[in-house]
Symmetry: C2
Subunit: 492 residues, 2 copies
């Protein structure tokens, strides 16, 4: 069958691409580095977006929309931001085409050159803070809690579907506060929103942590992150939340008047997650048969497949039973599809819905129905079980919950088994190659040592976990004293 | 009060801008022609999007996402498309910046020039049909019913908030079909989706029609449209649905194999509405006090404002009553806010929520509560009425329905009164200046006459209404014979 995927153990990267392409999540496009998000992939992103959006609104945020373009000069206003960020991006220099006088096509009209080039936003801190300058005058205007759902562009040389693409979809929160403490509290609160979303909704356990200086967002005083472990032992940064201090307020001169008529720069945060999460979802849960989707996120939670024989009475009974189950499931708010297309063999359908990751499959066969049973297969464990027909619909919500928590627990167990404490350089290097995962090790706290370790092993400090245990030790590389362990890994 | 708006009769254009800016819908940005959509404006767009999205899904469409960029050469593949469309657009020529060796800023890196320029999509037919080429092989792949929510850019010289901006948000449906008839049926079905959305949800009556050749979308065989009448008598095209024939399939070589193994080009439609609808909403319903929002679309449907006096017992009673009403309204799914901020005077709040367009205001005063009544004000008619406290929450849904239909009927009455049949050129010119609105007149059916009329009067043919009555007559301009009347107007 053409849908067969490469096995994970044979070629993990190829397996990943197979799932994305054959599972109908995304496709390559005619534009280098940009992907087409296909309906099944977009439905996953939509569900993530809607759930996150609800969490943002529950924590007091409102959505807004800022321009796609950023005047080039804005990028250099915050010094660290431009150094760390702004170089690889799409630059708009002209605003008109004209017919090619020498041929059938169109050419860029040299007369239509912009006075100042525009950058397609790689992130929106600069254009947003330039706007906040007009919106914030007084403490009464604070806190300002805004989120934007948008596309952004970063000109990537090496791209991978969902994980790193030139254009991607994301949300970016940008908040302004009267005090340092309140801004830090916001950055931490949004990290927790991301973490609980990942764990409760995507069934992905994450480490909550803070980045070392080397891995910090350009322009941030602190970058909080959630880090997840993929099945190949590589880490993936699944979301970040930045405490920006007063850096952008100073760069764009955003001051407020407090209750005592004093003026001060406002304090900022920004935070984001992107379509990269779809890549994480695939790499944490899926198997050699295809996608495995957590029920809360799955666009389709249950598929019902009839096995028809030639007896019209048995067929009628199957159809009636299917309709009863569907009505009942829909009343419970469960997303269900009945696939009675009789041009396709049941075996092909089974494989197709396995590939697409549908959590539960109910098979209705004539013989089973005579015996008042139906076959229920769960996608996560691939277990098949006969359920009594009577009350079948009522048992589905519990089954979906069970799948959701089993998927989380399986991923958590994998992460626990693949998080190893090491105490020497030799151990560190050996573990990275032989049993990749998170490696918990002492580090002397200097950027130089971190850089050196990265050069030698390609492993980076994923984070310093929040509420980390303090313990004395020696840096695995420099041997200098250290007060806590940090998490290293090779990462996407 | 700083919120005071210009009156419509004094300066309609200024009134419109005042509503947008002071009502918190949008703001100008640092990028010429691009706007910032502020939270209140974005909430309106979100509600429109969610309702439309539901209608699209109910009619079998799925969402997907295609690249922001289009290779320049794609634009010239469909001849009419490039002629009519593609010239005024943002052109990406470079993909990297670098530090300016002569100063503190950044410059475009001349080394990083793209081999082929990329166009920021003004619409996505070309990139999508280039993709459909890989997706469509057989009749089994048809119909392909895809929609995209996206930002697009058209380099406009004269812009107006929401009505015409360089960047705007929209959806664009792109479907592929096996037959001409099915594609036409789809284009007409989606026009009806737009029309019923506008009428049922936005309370905006629309004329369903088809465009004359001059006003057709570049690359379409037929453009269907819905046209609405604004309070100043100008028309606004609120949505379009195009039957594209086989034009794009031929340009991008998209063929399918039918059941009999014959190969043919597929048939296409595309259809879209944009953030322009927010502008229409404002101009159809609002008044000199601010926005008037139809309840179905209003982010906030009811606001409850307490009038406190110094008696703590009365205050406690007001608070209890408010909570009872809120709980009851929320249980009914009504979007309600309780504004008990005691730093702001009630009169200021009244004006603020009137400006924002909240359909219903409930005022809770101590004396009224003693008499077991509450004051209810409706935004559309500005009528205030005492309601019995007992059962107040239960009477709100009916009131909201009444406001919704009253707003529709008021707009319909206005349109009817401002749609005039004329039978001579003198009448036509006089009506356009003295009582602007839709002018129903005979036209000889030629692009030349239409162009001439536009030159002389700035009025265009808004549409040939669907199911138009056939009647013999003479073209108001050329005097040549005509078989039906068409609708003229000056338009946004």
């Amino acid at each position: 069958m053409s849908k067969t995927l490469t096995n994970r153990k044979d070629d993990y990267a190829q397996w990943y691409n197979d799932i994305i392409l054959k599972g109908g999540l995304a496709d390559y496009s005619a534009v280098k580095g940009c992907m087409v998000i296909k309906p099944h992939g977009y439905a996953l992103w939509e569900n993530m977006r809607d759930n996150l959006d609800k969490r943002f609104k529950e924590t007091g945020h409102q959505n807004a929309y800022f321009p796609l373009f950023i005047p080039k000069s804005f990028l250099s206003k915050e010094a660290a931001h431009v150094e760390g960020f702004a170089k690889e991006c799409a630059v708009v220099t002209h605003y008109r085409l004209k017919n090619d006088p020498n041929g059938g096509g169109v050419i860029v009209d040299p007369e239509a050159k912009l006075e100042e080039e525009l950058i397609v936003r790689p992130t929106s801190e600069t254009i947003i803070w330039n706007t906040y300058k007009d919106w914030i005058k007084s403490y009464r205007d604070l806190p300002l809690l805004i989120n934007q759902w948008a596309n952004v562009v970063r000109w990537e040389m090496r791209t991978r579907l969902f994980l790193r693409t030139t254009e991607f979809l994301w949300q970016e929160g940008h908040t302004a506060h009267a005090t340092r403490e309140e801004a830090i509290e916001e950055a931490e609160k949004m990290l927790e929103v991301y973490a609980s979303f990942a764990e409760e909704y995507m069934a992905i356990p994450v480490i909550r942590g803070v980045k070392s200086a080397n891995e910090r967002f350009a322009g941030a005083e602190d970058t909080y992150c959630i880090e997840a472990l993929m099945q190949d032992g590589k880490a993936l940064q699944a979301g970040t939340s930045h405490f920006l201090g007063q850096n952008f307020a100073k760069a764009f001169d955003v001051k407020f008047q407090d209750k005592d008529n004093n003026h001060d720069y406002v304090w900022a945060t920004s935070w984001g997650v992107s379509t990269r999460l779809v890549g994480a979802l695939v790499m944490v849960h899926s198997d050699d048969e295809g996608l495995v989707l957590p029920p809360k996120l799955a666009p389709l939670q249950v598929v019902i497949i009839p096995i028809f024989n030639k007896d019209p009475e048995a067929t009628a009974k199957i159809e009636r039973t299917a309709q009863d189950i569907i009505n009942n499931l829909k009343q419970q708010g469960i997303r269900v599809k009945y696939d009675n297309d009789d041009n396709t063999r049941a075996g092909f359908k089974f494989a197709e819905y396995e590939l697409k990751g549908v959590p539960v499959r109910i098979t209705l066969g004539a013989r089973d129905l005579e015996n008042n049973i139906v076959e229920v297969a769960r996608r996560d464990t691939k277990e098949k079980k006969a359920y009594p027909l009577d009350g079948i619909a009522a048992s589905i919500p519990g089954l979906l919950d069970d799948i959701q928590s089993n998927m989380y627990n399986t991923a958590l167990k994998f992460r626990t088994e693949n998080t190893i404490e090491v105490n020497s350089w030799d151990e560190f290097v050996k573990i990275l190659d032989e049993k990749p995962g998170f490696v918990s090790a002492h580090w002397d706290g200097t950027p130089e040592t971190e850089e050196k370790i990265k050069e030698l092993t390609k492993a980076t400090i994923r984070c310093i976990p929040l509420n980390n245990k303090m313990e004395e030790g020696k840096c695995i590389h420099s041997g200098k004293p250290s007060t806590q362990r940090v998490l290293f890994a090779r990462a996407y």
